[in-house]
C-alpha cells in the first residue's frame, strides 16, 4: 500500500469569507485532500494527515478525517506556537521521521493563505532529504513505485513520473469541500485524535515554536510616506489639459 502524508494547516475562515468564523482547512490543502479522496476510490493508498495546531484546529481535522484521512497526527502543544517556517519545518520533519518514516509521498499545499510565504514545502523536502516537486497542478495516479503528476511552471505544462519517496507542493486550491458524507463526518467526530506534545515528539524546546524560530517580527509600520501634492484647479477641461501636458513631457 502506498503511504501518503498530507501536511495540513488550519487558517482563519474569514480570509475566504468575511462571514466565516473559526479556522478552516487551508484551501490548497483541501484541494489535496479532495484529490486523494477521488484517487483512493480505485487505488490502494493510505492517507495520513499531520497538523500543527491548537484546539481550534479540531473541526478542520474532523473534516479531513471524514474526507479521506486514515490516520491523523495532531501536533498540539503551546510550545509549538509562534513558529516561523524553519521551526515549523523542524517540527513536521521530526514527526514524519518518527511516526511515518516509511512514507512514500509527502504532499503539502503550495502555501497557506494566512502566511503566503510558500517556503515550508521546499524546506521540509530538504530536511527529509527527498525529491521536491513544486508548482504541482494535479496528481494523476499513484503506481507501485512511482506517481504521475502534472506540473505547471513558468512556461510549460509537464506530465512527470516521479519515483517514491518525494514531496509535492501543490498550487491548486478549493475553498469548499464538495462531497462530505454525513455518516463519515459523524464517525470522524467520534474518532479519537492522537494529540502529540513536544515532549512526546522528542523535540527540544529550542527547536520548535517561537524559541526555535530564526525570524521574529519586531513591529509593524506604515511605509507609505506622505507627499506634498499640487492641486490642479479650474474646469474639467483645464484639469484634463494639465494632465495631458504632463504626459507629453
Amino acid at each position: 500500500m502506498i503511504k501518503i502524508v498530507v501536511c495540513l494547516k488550519m487558517v482563519p475562515g474569514k480570509l475566504i469569507d468575511a462571514e466565516r468564523s473559526g479556522l478552516i482547512i487551508n484551501p490548497y490543502d483541501l484541494f489535496v485532500l479532495e484529490k486523494l479522496a477521488k484517487l483512493k476510490k480505485n487505488t490502494d493508498i493510505s492517507v495520513i494527515g499531520i497538523c500543527m495546531g491548537g484546539e481550534s484546529a479540531r473541526e478542520g481535522l474532523v473534516r479531513s478525517k471524514a474526507l479521506v484521512c486514515d490516520d491523523i497526527y495532531w501536533l498540539n502543544d503551546i510550545k509549538f506556537a509562534q513558529a516561523d517556517t524553519i521551526a515549523t519545518t523542524k517540527t513536521l520533519s521530526a514527526a514524519i521521521k518518527k511516526y511515518i518514516p516509511d512514507a512514500d509521498a509527502v504532499i503539502c499545499g503550495g502555501h497557506a493563505i494566512d502566511g503566503e510565504t510558500g517556503q515550508v514545502p521546499a524546506e521540509l523536502s530538504e530536511k527529509l532529504g527527498i525529491t521536491y516537486f513544486s508548482s504541482v497542478a494535479d496528481i494523476e495516479s499513484f503506481g507501485h513505485d512511482s506517481a504521475v503528476i502534472v506540473k505547471k511552471d513558468e512556461g510549460h505544462e509537464m506530465t512527470v513520473r516521479c519515483r517514491y519517496p518525494f514531496l509535492l507542493s501543490v498550487d491548486s486550491f478549493l475553498t469548499y469541500a464538495s462531497n462530505l458524507n454525513i455518516i463519515a463526518l459523524k464517525r470522524a467526530q467520534k474518532w479519537e485524535y492522537k494529540i502529540i506534545s513536544s515532549e512526546e515528539l522528542g523535540i527540544a524546546q529550542t527547536d520548535c515554536g517561537a524559541a526555535g524560530s530564526k525570524t521574529k517580527v519586531i513591529n509593524s509600520v506604515n511605509i507609505i510616506y506622505k507627499k506634498e501634492s499640487i492641486e490642479v484647479g479650474g474646469s474639467i477641461k483645464e484639469k484634463a489639459d494639465h494632465v495631458k501636458k504632463l504626459l507629453q513631457q
Binding site: E123, V160, I224, K227, S229
Partner: protein
C-alpha cells in the same frame, strides 16, 4: 571590524537582468549603511563582460561558478560550498519560482532565517538588518529580523527596489569558483510529456513608462473603456486594484498591490482609486503619481504629486478626447 558580506544570488543564468540590477542596487545602498561588501553570486554560463555589468549597480565582487544546468539541488550544493568557504551576512534572492525553492532549501539546510517577498530591507544599528514584508490581514508592513541565525536570507519582490546605476567607478573583482562536487542532477523522475503554455507576459508592465490604474471609483464599463482607449493613445498599460480584479474587470496579472505586483513607472495615474494601503505599496516607487478622485479626502492624495478632485467619468471624457 570585518566588512559584512551582502550577497545577491543571480538566477538569470546567462546574463544580468534588471531584477538582479534592482537587488544589487539595494545591496549597494545597504553596504553603505552597514559597512558591507556587495558580492554577486553568479551561477550559470555567461561572459566576463556580462559579469562586469554588476559593477554598474555597485557590486564589489562577483563569484562565478560555471555550470550548464539550472537545477535547484545542484545550485544549492554549489551555493553551500561557496557559503561554507566565504560566508555571508545577508543573502538576497529574487522571488522567481526557482529562487524561492533555492532559498528555502538553503535556509532549511543551514537553519537560518528566511523572509519571503520582501518589499524593503534596511540596516539599523540597534536591530541589524530588518526585512519588511506585507503583514497579512493588516494594512501595514511587518518588520522582521533574524534571531540566533548565522545569516539572514530573503526573497525580494520584483520592482520593490529601483535599479540604479551608480556614479562612481568601482573596481570589480571576479572570482572564478571551482566547485569540486558532482554536477549530476536528480534522476528520480521522468518527463512523460511537456507542452509549452502561454505564459502571462508581463514585460509590457515591467517596462511601461506610463501606467493607468483603475479603482472602485470607476463605476461603469463605459468609463473603464474610455480609460483603456486613453491608455492606447498614450501607450500606457492599464492596471487595477484588488477589488477591480476581483470584480473581473481585469485579469489577475494586472493587479497591483500587496497581493499583486509592484510597479515603478515614470507616471502613474490613479483613476477612482481611494488609496488603500494594499494598493499603495505596489505603486510607491512610481516617479510621479497623479490621482483623480471625486473625494477630496481620499487617502490616495496623501502620496500623490498631482491632485485632481473631479468626477472620474467627466474627467476621462475630457481627457480621452
Amino acid at each position: 571590524m570585518d566588512k559584512r558580506n551582502i550577497w545577491v544570488v543571480c538566477d538569470a543564468f546567462d546574463h544580468v537582468d534588471s531584477f538582479i540590477g534592482q537587488l544589487i542596487s539595494k545591496a549597494y545602498q545597504l553596504s553603505k549603511e552597514s559597512n558591507g561588501c556587495v558580492q554577486v553570486i553568479f551561477l550559470g554560463n555567461t561572459s566576463e563582460d556580462e559579469l562586469k555589468r554588476c559593477a554598474l549597480y555597485g557590486a564589489d565582487e562577483v563569484v562565478y561558478q560555471h555550470c550548464e544546468t539550472k537545477d535547484e539541488r545542484l545550485w544549492l550544493d554549489i551555493l553551500s560550498d561557496i557559503y561554507s568557504s566565504i560566508g555571508a551576512d545577508v543573502i538576497m534572492f529574487t522571488n522567481s519560482d526557482f529562487s524561492k525553492t533555492l532559498s528555502s532549501f538553503f535556509a532549511s539546510r543551514f537553519e537560518v532565517g528566511l523572509t519571503a517577498d520582501c518589499i524593503d530591507i534596511c540596516f539599523e544599528d540597534e536591530n541589524g538588518f530588518v526585512f519588511e514584508r506585507a503583514a497579512m490581514s493588516d494594512s501595514v508592513q511587518a518588520r522582521i529580523i533574524c534571531i540566533d541565525s548565522q545569516c539572514c536570507t530573503c526573497t525580494v519582490k520584483k520592482n520593490a527596489f529601483v535599479e540604479n546605476v551608480i556614479n562612481e567607478v568601482k573596481e570589480l573583482s571576479i572570482r572564478k569558483w571551482d566547485y569540486k562536487g558532482s554536477f549530476n542532477t536528480d534522476d528520480r523522475y521522468e518527463v512523460i510529456s511537456c507542452v509549452k503554455r502561454e505564459i502571462e507576459n508581463s514585460a509590457d508592465l515591467d517596462n511601461a513608462k506610463i501606467v493607468f490604474g483603475v479603482g472602485r471609483g470607476v463605476k461603469d464599463k463605459e468609463t473603464f473603456d474610455l480609460i483603456c482607449q486613453a491608455g492606447k493613445k498614450y501607450n500606457a498599460v492599464v492596471v487595477g486594484t484588488k477589488c477591480v480584479v476581483d470584480d473581473g474587470l481585469l485579469p489577475k496579472k494586472y493587479q497591483v498591490g500587496q497581493s499583486g505586483r509592484s510597479i515603478a513607472p515614470d507616471i502613474y495615474i490613479a483613476f477612482g482609486i481611494s488609496g488603500a494601503n494594499q494598493h499603495l505599496v505596489g505603486i510607491r516607487n512610481s516617479r510621479q503619481i497623479i490621482a483623480v478622485n471625486n473625494n477630496e479626502n481620499a487617502p490616495i492624495f496623501n502620496i500623490a504629486d498631482v491632485k485632481i478632485v473631479a468626477d472620474v467619468k467627466e474627467f476621462i471624457k475630457e481627457f480621452s478626447e
